[in-house]
Structure formats: C-alpha cells, structure tokens
C-alpha cells in the first residue's frame, strides 16, 4: 500500500488532518476558560446562584474538551520531528524555544491549576478557586501567544540569521517574537476563539430556550453569548481586514490567491465574489466580480494597480482554489455572525430576546459556525503560505523527513481511524452534556459520579503529587493548605 505515493503529500495530509482536529479544541478552550472565569467572577460578585450553576455546567464540558486538546496537542509537538525533520533541523533554534516557552509558561500553569479548577471548588475556598480558574484562563492565552508567535514567524520571518549549517538562528529575539504579522494574527485568533465559544454557548442556550423560555440558566447564557456576538463580530471583521492589509504588505502572493487575482490589474482590480479558480489555465472560471472593488478594499482607492499571480513564477504559486474558497467560507461565516449579533440586538431592544423562536433557531444553526470559520481561516493562511514552510525561505518539499511513503501512509490511516473513533465519541459526550439544561444546584465534574462525591483521590492526587511534581502545582497546594 502507498508504494507509488508521494511521501511529502502524505505527510502534508497527515499534518493538515491532525492539525485541523487539534485547533478545534484550543479554539474552544481559550474562549471557554475565559468565559468560566467571567462566570465565576460574576458569581463571587453578585452571589446569584445561576452563575455558579452555569459555571459548573460548562466546567464539565471544559474538562472533556481540555482532555482532547491535551492529547491531540502532544501529537502536534512530536510531528514536527517525525514528519518534518528537515524543517525542525533548520528552524529548531528559532521555533523550538518559542514552543519550549509555551510549555514552561503556559502548560505548566494550566496543568498546575487545572486539577484545582476541576475538582477543588468545595475544597480550597471560593476565592482561591477563582484564582485557579483565572490562572487556567491566562494559561490558555499565554499558550496562544507563543504558538501564534511561532506560526507568524513562519509566515513573516524576522530577526533571524543563517548559520554555517544552513540553520535559522535568532539574531534578535524581540523581532522574532513580535514579527510583522504576529500582533494581527494574535488578535484575530483570540477574538475568533471568543466568538466561537460565544456561538456555542449561545446555541446551547437557544436550544434550551426553544424548549422552555423560563429557565434562568439558558436565558442568562443566551443573553451573555449574544452580547458577545453583537460586540465582537464587528470588531473581528475590522481586525480581519487589518490582518488582510498586513498580509498584503508582507505576503502579497497569499492575497492574490485569496482574491483569485491570477492577472495583474493596472487600473483598479475587481473583487471576485465567486468563481472557480482554474490553476492550470491561470484564470478564474465563471467569475462573478465587482469592478474596481478589490482595489478599493485592499488599497482604499478605486484605480490603484494590483499585481497578480502572473508576476510570480508558477513554482511559487499557492494552491489557489483551496485558499480562494476557504477564505470565502470564513468571510461568509463572519458576516453571518455579524447578522446574528445585530438581529439579537434588535430583539433585545424590542424586549423579545427570549421569546423570538426564529432568532433561537438561527442561533442553534450558528453553533458550529465558529469552528467552521476557524478551520477555514487557518486553511486560508496555511495554504496561502505554500509552497513554503518558512515564507520565501524554506520550501515545503525541502522540509519533510526522509521517510518512505508507506510509513507515512500507514500512520495517516492510523490517525484518521483513531481520531474519528476517539474524538467522535468525545463530541457525542459533549453534545450529551449540552442536551440537558443547567439546573439549580448544578454540580461540577467532581460531583456527578458517586465515587468522586466521596471526595476520593482526585484531591489526594493534587495535594501529594503536586508537591512532588511541578512548582505550579506545589504553589497551588501550598496556597490550598493555608
């Protein structure tokens, strides 16, 4: 099997597959961790029971999602070496430290406080537990910071030098970390994570409102989620536009692929709304376009000239059809989110936020929209960087491990089978948790199984093992004892 296949293509398929599965979980946990921190803060502040019920309700879902994020993340961190060893060799001195910092600053923080967050509400006192929740939320954000810095460096490399072995080495760490596209990407991704979470929370709230409009929990979470959509969706569109302008400056070829601009336009490029990019012919078939609008959006001038892919050697072309369409899917989702936010605002002003069944149905349908947008966005930016892993400097074909196609093919098949089996089960469990509405006296993960109610070993594990293991855990325990 796989004898005649291209090992690099298989390795790319494997990375794309495992990465796509992985990104879904962090996108959700980044948003959910912050949402949980907000819920707990509101509970501590107002003392309203509905907030702690919602907190415990979403904490159970968080536990499942976080576990899946951890295990799919370990795969990512080792795949750089197993499948992209030439890339690891060349960029390790730059990318490696960024990932090591992620582990040291973010993962240990999360891991140290996660046990307290999941199992400790009744044991460590409410304020300390809130600190733990806050630490986990901050940990997820720090993690996003480092990993997006590493990715952005691959998109817009800066602050590096080449050594005698052909390796990239850091000449200026500040320039490496804060490379040109990093601030835009970080804002865009964190907002995307928040929006994704808001849409899921809103969909769950709307789902239960469709059944019963008088439940306190669904009303509160639906209202909170719709505020988030109303406020963040427009900001996200602006952030995305700014990110696009930044990309035009540093990765113009990616913009050409996103816009389907095979040809150069000397006086005002059109905005191609839809069409089918024909890579071999070098033009967009069946194009529906608005004249001059492309230049207006990208250059803020109707007649500004825009270069096309015809100015770029063919061997440096990204796979335009994928980039083109994934970009449109992302943008489409973004405008649907904006629509949901505005519609909910209208209903809120009219005072029918909790009664309008059509709005609730729309919100339920939009539940997975955030994930679709996140995936489409990442596909846009990652395929738009092709055929390079480090933009303009290191080709994808030169990055791969010297592996035989059957080896990569078998691992790809194994990952596909395992991921669909395992993560499908996880998603079913999450949906099952979501299908029941939050009820008064909702219990967290430590209480929904009888053995844990007895206060068994989870706490013991944290107390004694954390003392041995990590400083973060030890600090948590120490704080816990006081």
């Amino acid at each position: 099997m796989f004898e005649g296949w291209d090992a690099v293509a298989l390795a790319r398929a494997q990375f794309a597959f495992t990465m796509s599965f992985h990104i879904v979980f962090p996108a959700f946990t980044i948003g959910l961790a912050s949402y949980l921190a907000v819920l707990e803060a509101l509970w501590l502040w107002t003392g309203r029971e509905v907030f702690i019920n919602l907190f415990n309700y979403w904490l159970k879902i968080f536990a499942v999602v976080f576990g899946m994020g951890v295990v799919s993340g370990i795969v990512m961190s080792y795949q750089f070496g197993t499948n992209w060893s030439a890339f690891s060799d060349k960029t390790g001195p730059v990318i490696g430290p960024l990932m090591a910092y992620e582990v040291l600053t973010a993962f240990f923080l999360e891991a140290g406080f996660l046990g307290v967050m999941l199992f400790g509400l009744e044991r460590v006192g409410h304020r300390l537990h809130f600190v733990a929740t806050l630490m986990v939320a901050i940990g997820t954000l720090i993690s996003a910071f480092w990993i997006l810095s590493a990715n952005s460096w691959m998109q817009t490399p800066a602050g590096y030098a080449l050594n005698a072995d052909g390796q990239f080495v850091a000449a200026d760490w500040l320039k490496v970390i804060f490379n040109p596209s990093f601030p835009y990407r970080l804002v865009h991704m964190v907002l995307a994570a928040y929006l994704t979470t808001a849409l899921v929370v809103g969909a769950v709230g709307a789902f239960h409102l469709l059944r019963n409009q008088n439940l306190a929990g669904p009303r509160v979470m639906f209202s909170m989620a719709m505020w988030m959509a109303t406020l963040v969706a427009p900001i996200q569109i602006i952030a995305g536009d700014q990110h696009g302008l930044n990309t035009l400056e540093h990765q113009p070829v990616k913009i050409m692929a996103m816009e389907g601009h095979y040809e150069s336009h000397s006086d005002g490029a059109p905005l191609i709304l839809f069409g089918w990019p024909n890579q071999s012919a070098g033009k967009v078939d069946y194009a529906v376009e608005v004249p001059k609008l492309g230049s207006l959006i990208l250059k803020h001038s109707l007649d500004a000239p825009l270069a096309g892919l015809d100015t770029v050697p063919r061997k440096d072309w990204p796979p335009v059809p994928i980039t083109f369409w994934s970009f449109r899917i992302m943008v489409g989702m973004g405008f649907l989110m904006l629509g949901l936010g505005l519609l909910s605002l209208l209903m809120r002003v009219r005072g029918t936020l909790y009664e309008q069944r059509l709005l609730h149905g729309f919100a339920v349908a939009m539940g997975p929209a955030g994930f679709i947008a996140v995936l489409a966005g990442w596909i846009t930016t990652e395929t738009g960087r092709q055929p390079f892993t480090v933009y303009g400097l290191l080709r994808t074909a030169e990055s791969a491990s010297p592996l035989a196609a059957p080896a990569v093919g078998s691992s790809l098949v194994a990952f596909v089978i395992v991921y669909f089996a395992v993560f499908a089960a996880g998603i079913i469990y999450i949906l099952r948790l979501m299908a029941a509405p939050p009820h008064p006296g909702e219990q967290g993960p430590s209480h929904d199984v009888p053995t844990r109610t007895a206060g068994i070993t989870p706490a013991a594990g944290v107390t004694s093992a954390a003392g041995i293991t990590s400083a973060a855990g030890a600090a948590a325990t120490e704080g816990a004892v006081r």
Partner: protein, 370 residues
C-alpha cells in the same frame, strides 16, 4: 572540568524533564498497565481517580522534552524522530486513547464503560512499549548520513529493542503498583503489595537482562562503562539499584513502602482533622472514636480513605497533635524523620561510590602499575 555552556545546561534540563516524565507519567502509565488485573469497577474508579487531576501535568513533561530537544538540539531531534517514526506514532496514539479515557469513562453509560477501560489499559501498554522500544532503538544505534536519518522504517525492531520495551512495561507497572500502595487502602492496597513483590523481581530481572545485553551491542558501551575514570560514574548505578532494592524489600516485608510512612501520617492526619472538625476541635482527645473509625475503615469501605484534602484548613495544627498519638494497630512502628532517611540514603550512596572508586583504583594499580 567540563566547560558549562548553554548546550550542557539544556542537556541537563532535557535529562531532568525526561527523568521527571518517566517517574511521574510512569505512575499513571503503570496504573494502565495493571488495569486488567483489577476487574472490579469500584477498584478501577479509585485507580483512575488517583491520577485524574495530575495526568496532564505529567504529560506536559513529555512535551517539554520534545520541545526542549527541538530548541536546543534540533539536529538530534531531526535525526531521531524519523528513525523512531513507528514507535513515536504508536506512542502518540496510545497516549490519545489513555488520555481521553480519564474523562470519557465518566461520560458514557454504565454498560459501555468498559470500552474506555480497554482504551486506558491498551493505550498505556502501547505507549509504554513504544517508549521502551524507542529507548532500545536509540541505544542500539541508528544509521545517519549527513544531517539525515538514512535507515528504513523498521530498523528499530530488534530483539534488544523489544527487550527494553518489555523492561519498561515492567518498570512502569512496578511504579504503578507502589503508587497504589501509596494512595489506597484495604483490599486494593493488599493486592498492590502482592503485585509490588512480583513486579520488583520482574524488574530486577529486566534490569539485569538489559544491563547484560547493552555492552554487547557496541564495544564502545563496554569501553565506556568499564574504563577508568568512567567507572566511578557507572559503578554506583548497580550499587544504588541494590540499595534501593533492599530498602524496597524491607518496606514491602514490613508492608510499608518507603514513602508510605509519610502517607500513613497524611491519611491519619486527614482522619484526625475530620474528627477535629466534627468534634469541635477535640481531635486530640478523641482517640477511641478514631480507633473505631479505623477499625471500620479496615472493612469494605476502607479504600475511600485514599484521601488527601486539597484545602484542609487546620492541617498545620492537626499534624502536631497527630504525631503525638500512638498508633494502635502497629505499636512498634517507628517514625523516622524524612531528613534522617535522606541522610541515610546519601551516606549509602557515597559509601558505594567510595568503595567502587577505591576498588577500581586498586584494580588498576594491580593490573597496570606505573
């Protein structure tokens, strides 16, 4: 003296990460390995819960090892990972199955729970075997040309790597068994004691087999191990193994693992604190009630006393009171302080190093006098 440069520091950091990973995740992988031997659902719940809050922290060390290696030794990382492709992928898949089982087994309906128990046990076996095989594959050497791995994708599979794989399974299983001794009580703990005995001897056998096989892999190993002055560094290892084995045998014979003393204290402390709480702060005078409780704890429900409290408010006070209380079940038990035990251990180690150094030095003078 060896120059201390950034590479050396990183080598120590990574060695430390791997060491901590093996010890910490070894416990919970070992539990997965032992899982088939504990068919009762109640036992399995206790076993899983004993590591549920810490397993992801333990695996973070694995990510640090990988990330640190990519950062500090990208060439080694780039050569090793493709060479270990199949074991690495197997390890990752094993870790997925066992990692998700921690949450999933609580989310499924009762009748189907066994499915994730199988995933937990099977994933732990697979990941451990793969780690051991990877270690063996590195020890036996890999084919490198230029800056790339140049071997095939089945090069790692040899009798030696399979031996190291099985040896690691035994080692982790022993860690898991002693963890259960540490963390549980009652019948579960009795069973863990029994397992620790047989696993200890199995591990000694594995250590012996791997130690005998290694010098025959490459002549360099034998040269490095037995040449002066390296022997100063290698000789204490078997002596330390012997010392730790004796300690463990002693503790097992007294039905008390080395660390377990501290744990006993901890458990009784928790009980006392509970009484302290219930009885309005009169824990010190409630020893009869305590004894009743303990006797009852010996029965079926005892295992739920595998408890430590995350936020025990009066731990400091309780500790003082408790340490003064006579232990009624084991009157002869001594409570040596931790520092004393550590000192003893350090002394033993130094003695071992000193003895071997002198012996080798004498041997050298006798063989090649100058």
């Amino acid at each position: 003296m060896m120059a201390v440069d950034i590479a050396t520091i990183w080598a120590f950091i990574i060695a430390f990460a791997v060491f901590v990973y093996v010890v910490m995740d070894g416990f919970d992988l070992g539990l997965g390995i032992l899982f088939p031997l504990f068919p009762a659902k109640a036992d399995r719940d206790v076993i899983m819960n004993s590591v549920a809050p810490v397993w992801d922290g333990n695996e973070t060390w694995l990510v640090l090892g990988g990330g640190g290696m990519m950062a500090a030794f990208p060439l080694a990382y780039a050569v090793l990972m493709p060479a270990l492709y199949t074991p690495m992928i197997a390890m990752l898949i094993g870790l997925i199955f066992r990692g998700v089982a921690f949450e999933f087994r609580w989310r499924t309906t009762q009748s189907k729970r066994n499915r994730w128990d199988i995933a937990f046990a099977g994933g732990s076996w697979l990941a451990t075997l793969a780690q051991g095989i990877a270690l063996g594959a590195v020890l036996q050497g890999i084919h490198v040309e230029g800056r790339h791995y140049a071997g095939g994708w089945w090069d790692w599979l040899t009798p030696f790597s399979l031996l190291t794989g099985l040896a690691l399974v035994v080692g982790y299983a022993l860690l898991g068994a002693t963890w259960l001794v540490l963390k549980t009580e009652g019948e579960l703990r009795d069973k863990a004691y029994g397992l620790s005995w047989s696993l200890l001897f199995a591990m000694l056998g594995s250590i012996g087999a791997v130690s005998i096989a290694t010098p025959f892999l490459h002549i360099q190993y034998a040269q490095r191990w037995f040449a002066w002055p390296n022997v100063i560094l290698t000789a204490p290892v078997p002596i330390a193994v012997a010392a730790v084995t004796i300690l463990l045998l002693r503790s097992l014979a007294k039905r008390r693992a080395l660390l377990c003393r501290a744990w006993d204290q901890h458990v009784s402390l928790h009980r006392a604190a509970e009484h302290h709480h219930l009885a309005g702060g009169l824990a010190g005078e409630q020893s009869d009630l305590h004894a009743v409780r303990r006797r009852r704890a010996g029965a079926a429900h005892s295992r739920i006393y595998g408890v430590g409290l995350l936020g025990l408010p009066r731990q400091g006070e309780a500790r003082e009171r408790i340490s003064l209380m006579p232990d009624k079940q084991n009157p002869g038990r001594s409570q040596r302080p931790l520092a004393q035990r550590l000192l003893w251990f350090a002394a033993l180690w130094l003695l071992g190093v000193g003895t071997v150094a002198m012996l080798s030095f004498g041997l050298r003078l006798w063989l090649a006098p100058k």
